[in-house]
């Protein structure tokens, strides 16, 4: 995998800058195809978002969820695994979160209710992540294919459980107890809420684990040099399963923002797409927690701006660019790696 560990910060920034420019160029071609001037659209995207507190709040709301799903993909990439099962892990997490939130008795204090709901979400996501890991380690089943299949399977099971037990001729489950609600930030009535603090704290925790603990070292060695890790006594398979479980837990945590912070209930289709977008976030953030947070904001801006520029160009432009960014980062980092290797030989 392309997870960076030893390369310098400067090279990482260079890769990201080139990849962003390439993505912007391709996006500009799409805008031109739609009969608009790219400069006009990009300028409108920035001014309409940053000039409007509500729009900015929506970006923050989106970025909160993406920080979690981005970190989920990032820690798996660090360990040489590609978790693209975020959609399913998030759906399971939101269902668990909302069911626990609705089951708690009225009057449960926030200090009890919010952690319980959060842990329920994380456990549901972790269970699916661990399953993907176990299938990979014990049976050699490629995690990308099993992830996609489990996304579909979880979506079907969640829909079945919802229709059978939660929804009564609607697509919305019962409301969570008041104590489990995370308050809005109060940014001009936008959906942004205080779960953004949890996202920042979790990013900090991942940074600390990754940079400062033997655990973090173990999971990165497994990604960089699995043979060496095995030779030095690391239980590679166990690390892989644990990392995918942790990745699944992280992918489920947007439930705190979507369910506890905003909808206050489970709803079909809530947060759809955030899991996949986490792939773009992690690659653009070069798997580094700080980079991931920055990339979450940028891609949050891109994905919400589909609405603010929707009257100029088809909003699907931003969907294409989410994939283009991934391709551009993968290609650029490979190109930089090759160039460095050639320079290394020359000197």
């Amino acid at each position: 995998m392309t997870a960076p560990t030893t390369a310098s910060l400067r090279r990482q920034l260079e890769v990201v800058a080139i990849a962003l420019l390439v993505s912007l160029a391709i996006g500009s071609l799409l805008v031109l195809a739609a009969g608009r001037a790219p400069g006009e659209v990009w300028l409108a995207m920035l001014t309409r978002t940053f000039g409007d507190r509500y729009a900015l709040g929506q970006v923050l709301y989106k970025a909160t969820g993406l920080a979690f799903t981005g970190l989920a993909v990032a820690i798996a990439l660090d360990a040489g695994l590609f978790n693209i099962g975020g959609e399913g892990q998030l759906a399971a997490g939101m269902l668990a979160c909302a069911v626990v939130g609705a089951a708690l008795p009225d009057g449960t204090p926030a200090i009890v209710a919010i952690p319980l709901c959060t842990v329920a979400a994380a456990l549901a996501g972790a269970a699916i992540g661990a399953l993907i890991g176990a299938l990979r380690v014990w049976r050699g089943a490629h995690e990308v294919i099993t992830s996609i299949m489990l996304n579909e399977i979880v979506a079907g099971v969640v829909l079945y459980l919802g229709n059978r037990y939660l929804f009564h001729d609607t697509t919305r489950g019962p409301p969570i107890t008041d104590g489990a609600e995370i308050p809005h930030l109060g940014l001009a009535g936008s959906d942004a809420n205080w779960s953004v603090l949890l996202a920042v704290a979790v990013a900090g925790a991942v940074w600390w684990l990754r940079a400062r603990t033997t655990w973090g070292r173990a999971w990165r060695v497994v990604g960089d040099a699995p043979a060496a890790a095995r030779a030095s006594g690391v239980a590679v398979g166990r690390v892989q399963i644990l990392v995918l479980a942790a990745s699944g837990a992280l992918a489920a945590l947007p439930a705190t923002s979507y369910v506890l912070g905003h909808e206050h209930a489970f709803e079909t289709g809530l947060g759809a797409g955030s899991g996949f977008l986490g792939i773009s976030v992690a690659l653009l953030g070069r798997s580094h927690p700080l980079g991931v947070v920055a990339a979450a904001f940028l891609l949050g801006l891109l994905s919400t701006s589909g609405l603010v520029i929707g009257n100029l160009v088809p909003k699907e432009v931003t969907e294409v660019m989410q994939g283009v960014v991934v391709l551009a980062v993968a290609a650029t980092s490979a190109w930089a790696r090759r160039r460095d290797a050639q320079q290394g030989r020359a000197t």
Partner: protein, 282 residues
């Protein structure tokens, strides 16, 4: 029973063509997670050109061309630049998901469906894609096992160093395999939209990944992979039939059958040995 088999044959065509294409690409040493993108762009191109020309055959040609184009981009990134093959594949699938929806808006100002294109429906004998799949299921294994093109393809996948020693570029052999694979998968995409006569967003629904799982199950043998796809389609058709006569399994869960089968297949086939140079970029 016969009607079930006929339904399954029609449903197996896109899966089998994608699997045959994927087997070519993977056997030559390049991971082919972009099958989903080839199906999607192939389905869109077939519907768009089919609509514009009112010719299904023109649609098929366009679908194959779209698959070849996706393969060319994939090979450019993964072989020429040496980018991570798994990430390139997933990225192309994301591009295809958004890109086909963008094109729907751009060309037709529609969010989910294309305007009507010619439809083959349940036809089997009159549908050239069924014949293409059948012929490819016989010719591709033969070509891989018995021709010079196939020999180079297999060498690129297993012993790229040996291929280089006799002066043949492994990259070129892989490109040749990937372009043929792209045409096959693109034809599979054409079947998706020309069966019903319309392209709709996400029409592939994960079939590219299912096809790749069948390639792995077959041990990277194209003929067996195509046969495995017929098996999945049979299970899917049987499940639909059960739904019609009424079964105890709720419909939300019954429709998950192909995905559950695919996971089980990977659990069973996990130990199979891939081509030695698969995904290494060597």
């Amino acid at each position: 029973m016969i009607s079930l088999l006929l339904l399954a044959i029609v449903a197996a065509v896109p899966l089998a063509l994608a699997a045959l294409g994927g087997a070519c690409t993977e056997r030559s040493g390049m991971i082919d997670l972009a099958l989903e993108a080839k199906l999607l762009f192939g389905a869109f191109a077939a519907a768009a050109v089919g609509h514009a020309t009112d010719s299904a055959v023109a649609g098929i040609v366009a679908g194959m061309a779209a698959g070849v184009l996706v393969s060319a981009v994939q090979a450019g990134c993964a072989l020429r630049l040496g980018a991570d093959q798994v990430i390139v594949g997933v990225a192309l699938n994301l591009v295809a998901l958004g890109g086909t929806r963008f094109l729907l808006q751009l060309l037709y100002h529609e969010g989910t469906n294309s305007p009507p294109a010619p439809a083959y429906g349940d036809a089997i004998v009159a549908n050239p894609l069924v014949w293409l799949a059948l012929i490819a299921a016989i010719v591709v294994p033969f070509a891989v096992d018995r021709t010079r093109w196939g020999l180079r393809l297999r060498a690129a996948g297993d012993r790229p160093d040996a291929l280089a020693a006799v002066g043949v570029s492994a990259t070129r052999a892989r490109l040749a395999a990937a372009l043929v694979g792209g045409a096959l998968a693109g034809a599979g995409g054409a079947q998706l939209s020309l069966e019903v006569g319309v392209f709709s967003a996400d029409i592939s629904g994960g079939r590219g990944y299912i096809a790749l799982a069948m390639v792995i199950l077959s041990g990277w043998r194209p003929g067996w992979a195509a046969l495995a796809c017929l098996g999945v389609a049979l299970a899917e058709a049987a499940e639909l039939q059960l739904q019609i006569v009424g079964s105890a399994i709720p419909s939300e869960l019954a429709s998950l059958a192909p995905y559950i089968i695919t996971v089980l297949v990977l659990v069973i086939a996990g130990g199979r040995k891939p081509p030695r140079a698969l995904g290494t970029g060597q």
